[in-house]
Amino acid sequence: MSGGLFKQEEALLNDAKEKESSNSFDAEQNKLLLKGYEKLLKQTRRLVKMSDRTEAELNRMSKEQVELNQTLSEQNTKLETLSVKLSKYLSPQVYESIFSGKAEVRVGADRKYLTVFFSDIVSFTEITDQLEPEILTRSLNAYLNEMAIVAISHGATIDKYIGDSIMAFFGDPETLGPQHDAVKCVTMALSMQEKVKLLNHELNKMGVTRPFNIRCGINSGICTVGNFGSENRLDYTAVGNQVNLASRLESASGVGEVLISEETMLLTQEHFDFEPNQEIHVKGFARPIKTYTVNGHKTRKDLSGNLSFHSKGLDLEIDPLVLNEDSKKAITELIPQLQNIIQQSTKN
């Protein structure tokens, strides 16, 4: 605070001091000094009062701020909990694209090239008719849970569960390109077939006497994908003839089979062995649809240099065209580790 603010008071005091030193301090001077002192005392009292009031106000606001922060923190925790719960209703890619703000949550759809997958459990109704509701619930949830783990690990967008049926697709909201998406989808379907065989041991322990067998259908093509419904209730899904075809392939698939369309076969032929199957007629398609049963992964180093090998305990896919420096370094580092694993495995 500058001295200028107390100019009057300082002038009065200096004048009094001067007069006192020159022995001219009189009654008039004394009266002025008293008046000035009285005024200053009054102002000081009020200033202290105002200062106390301001301090009390600041304390109140600070307390309010602390309470507000606490409320905000509680609301954030609630939102986080809610968000985690909500994530279980959505495919991870969809959840991520919504919560990161990449995707708009509104009615609307785009045309995208997708590889669409359908599966269901053969004779599920007959199997479950004989089961207690608790066993039915536990076994179906165990099955869907394991299939979801396989699907997510391969990067699938799980569209929906319809009873024991699963609909998933590759190509939206993330895509590696039609060919990679299709290869991932077929690889996922084969992994699911393997997983079900392992799961049947667990299901048997739960009281499911007849083993689960699944059939899978896959098709690739341009679909309409996006949010369908109303502004209040949206479903993120894919629709169109190509989706219907995937569903129809699933129905036509045999027990434990993966049946794919010609389009998917052409996209994935470098990676899998196929066997032509019967043509099927599908509503919306003028010509009969060629179908192929996937026999398994090809084990060969093809002309493009792709290396693909899959057997029990081993899934290997190397595409030299997309390898970056980090991937190359990782392969170099993995070789001695792989040798070590083989040595340990041989000893055991």
Binding site: M1, G4, L5, R46, L47, K49, M50, S51, R53
Partner: protein
């Protein structure tokens, strides 16, 4: 004289017959802020018979409180000298702090017409 509001000082208008002050007041240099206002006010009061003042402050610090004591003293002195001085201390209905400050300043106003106005 017209001073635009800053984030630390209020908007101030001083004319021949009226003064208005509105905003927050906690200037970095209270003397540099206060002296021209007090000088201008004293000058205007000398030259007129009727003068009105409207103050609507939302916050002021301790230095500004001392400035306001001096400010009101100038107005009261003018009223004692025979000028017709009217003062409105305007405060928001939810702002008890400014209401009480207005009551405190009003205690010294005997000759000047001092009113608290809730807005």
């Amino acid at each position: 004289m017209h001073l635009e509001a800053t984030n630390r000082t209020p908007e101030i208008s001083i004319s021949e017959t009226a003064l208005e002050m509105k905003g927050e007041c906690y200037p970095e240099d209270i003397t540099a802020f206060a002296e021209p206002i007090l000088e201008s006010l004293a000058e205007k009061l000398k030259a007129c018979d009727v003068y009105s003042v409207s103050l609507e402050l939302r916050y002021f610090n301790s230095s500004s409180a001392k400035f306001l004591f001096d400010f009101f003293e100038v107005l009261e002195d003018a009223a004692v000298a025979g000028k017709s001085v009217s003062i409105e201390w305007r405060y928001r209905s939810t702002d008890n702090s400014m209401k009480e400050a207005g009551e405190d300043f009003g205690e010294d106003m005997e000759e000047a017409d001092y009113q608290l106005v809730e807005i």
